[in-house]
């Protein structure tokens, strides 16, 4: 297993390098620069600013400098938020996104697993059709429809929550529901499929014949096998939850990282874009690795490759 992890970690090095290179040249190939949208400063001032940030150097030298910075973990200064480094901005805003992501994931797992297990256990009854229809609805209603609708009903008409903001614990509820809904729907479908496959196995019939209760069969005998499809889906889910939070943060006015990223791209805030992209990439790669390890731990029949 250690070898597997080391191999996977080594593999990420070229991947991250390619991502950084692609991002760099894409950014610089795009028209406009970080200071081109502002009110035109006198040319000598502009030249000074460019010199200060090293933007006057040839592109390849800038590239080398950027790479050297990245190697030391210093993501550089932000062009738009003067006096703040990218590391600080990520450090300030990412915890908010991470919290939202965890809560969204919690919603997704809670509703998804419960719905999927109930549906599998009561296959072809009302308790199968109801959660599966809801899951279908969840799949077809995009985040940016669900969010405003939830706000309209629960914040504006019923006045249970604030329409936007990120101050009190209850401010977390609507965003987490919005973010988690789609993934809850996916997980419910996967979980139902996984459990159905397990529940048709002989050993489950044996357990039933010996008088095991539904709960015991679910949690003791089939949980491990049943949630396998869900676990292998978790890697991509986490990536989706993280990027999905862009929209949710916009809808609910949450001071998270996703908004910084989109704004940074519009502003050509080079270091900020590069820092965000690499940060996300590293995060997603590690979460996927974690999901793979859990997968093997749950299913000993799978072995770590090589």
């Amino acid at each position: 297993m250690i070898r597997f992890i080391i191999r996977r970690l080594l593999e990420t090095v070229p991947v991250l390098f390619i991502i950084a290179t692609a991002t760099f040249f894409m950014m610089h190939a795009a028209p406009g620069g970080p200071f081109s949208s502002e009110k035109q400063a006198p040319p000598e001032v502009q030249a000074r600013i460019n010199a200060f940030y090293g933007l006057d150097k040839p592109l390849f030298q800038q590239y080398l400098r950027q790479m050297k910075h990245l190697l030391t973990g210093d993501l550089g200064p932000s062009f738009k938020y003067a006096g703040r480094t990218v590391n600080e901005i990520i450090g300030d805003s990412f915890p908010v996104s991470a919290e939202l992501g965890c809560e969204g994931l919690f919603v997704a797992l809670l509703f998804g697993l419960v719905a999927g297990m109930v549906a599998a256990l009561k296959q072809n009854t009302f308790w199968d059709h109801l959660p599966m229809s809801l899951a279908m609805v969840g799949l077809c209603v995009p985040t940016f429809v669900l969010g405003p609708l939830l706000v309209l009903v629960f914040a504006i008409h019923l006045d249970w929550f604030n329409a936007a903001g990120w101050f009190f614990p209850r401010d977390r509820i609507l965003p987490a529901l919005t973010l988690g809904a789609v993934y809850a729907a996916y997980i419910a479908r996967l979980c139902r499929g996984g459990f159905l496959e397990v529940l048709h196995q002989d050993y489950i019939r044996t357990a039933r014949a010996k008088g095991a209760s539904d709960a015991r069969i679910l949690f003791k005998h089939s949980l491990r096998g049943g949630i396998l499809p869900v676990v292998s889906y978790l890697g991509p889910t986490i990536a989706g939850v993280l990027t999905g939070s862009f929209v949710v943060e916009t809808i609910f006015g949450i001071p998270g990282f996703g908004r910084f990223f989109v704004i940074a791209a519009f502003n050509r805030d080079y270091f900020m874009v590069m820092g965000s992209v690499l940060f996300y990439a590293v995060l997603v790669i590690f979460l996927n690795l974690a999901a793979d390890i859990v997968l093997v731990w749950l299913n000993p029949r799978l072995r770590f490759e090589e």
Partner: protein, 301 residues
């Protein structure tokens, strides 16, 4: 062709007198009411969008015609679905936007289909080292936050529709590549491939003329299931302000505009959202129905 396909399915081999694979599949599809419903809805929406493209005045208004003295009006006889803040007819905009959304869905799915099928077929047919390297690349790409790249591309290089097809298609081909590869591996050992080899056909010809046609079932199913994802991604981009630009509209744009004013003019959110949800529903039902009808095993690992 029909015989060879039935071999790839889990159905037992059929006798000569039984209906062909495709007749069988069509029969099963017709029995699935939800799938037929989906098919009908998709066809009707597609036809309406096409009609509004051919005759921009279909609803009596073009999608960009403003009526500032009217302003936002609730649904009425003159404007069946009401008007937006600039007095533009919502029905006309909805149909026009539907055209854009469906077009993006079709083309981007097409792009992902082409890349995915070619890549997957080559990987599966080559096998061995080539295969493991190619699939390793897919695994790695799977792990990347691709949406971020799509956002970057759209921000940096302007918001053209063609770019959107390519960007979305370039993201969505991975699953298709995996599925096609798995199917090719299953088919390539069969006698008709051996026969083609014996006839001295080139490898490219064997792959694309003899093997790929046998994978039509899974390809159709996953193309149908890719379309809703693509449409969602397009509207996600439009919601972030990166999609089509005004005065054009797509469902994502309309939903975004509606969500901003939903408290005052709820119809501006409800109708576009309903149209989009209905389309996604229909495509998903159709895809599920086709999967059952064509008996494609759940190869989505």
């Amino acid at each position: 062709m029909s015989e060879s396909i039935s071999i790839t399915t889990t159905q037992p081999a059929q006798t000569a007198a039984s209906p062909s694979f495709w007749q069988d599949a069509r029969h099963r599809l017709w029995k699935n009411k939800l799938a037929v419903f989906g098919l009908v809805v998709v066809c009707v929406l597609g036809a309406l969008s096409l009609a509004s493209y051919l005759w921009p005045n279909l609803t009596g208004y073009t999608y960009a015609r403003q009526d500032l003295t009217l302003g936002p009006a609730p649904p009425s006889h003159a404007h069946w679905l009401g008007t937006d803040a600039l007095g533009r007819d919502l029905l006309a905009r909805l149909l026009y936007g539907g055209g854009i959304s469906l077009t993006v869905g079709l083309y981007a799915t097409g792009v992902s289909l082409i890349i995915g099928v070619i890549y997957g077929a080559i990987s599966g047919f080559a096998g061995g080292k080539v295969d493991s390297v190619m699939m390793r690349i897919v695994d790695i790409l799977y792990a990347l936050p691709f949406v971020i790249f799509v956002i970057l591309i759209m921000v940096f290089f302007g918001q053209s529709l063609v770019l959107m097809f390519i960007a979305i298609g370039a993201v969505e081909w991975l699953t298709m590549a995996r599925i096609v590869r798995g199917q090719v591996m299953a088919v390539k050992r069969q006698e008709f491939v051996e026969a083609a080899h014996a006839l001295g056909l080139s490898e490219a010809r064997i792959i694309f003329q003899h093997i790929v046609p046998n994978l039509l079932g899974p390809i159709i199913v996953y193309a149908t299931l890719t379309m809703p994802e693509v449409i969602l991604l397009e509207s996600f981009l439009s919601f972030l302000g990166l999609g089509v630009q005004p005065p054009q509209s797509s469902w994502g744009v309309l939903i975004k505009e509606g969500a901003d004013v939903m408290q005052e003019y709820p119809w501006l959110l409800i109708y576009p959202a309903a149209a989009m949800a209905l389309t996604l529903f229909s495509l998903n039902f159709l895809g599920d129905g086709l999967r059952d009808a064509l008996d494609v095993r759940g190869s989505k690992d």
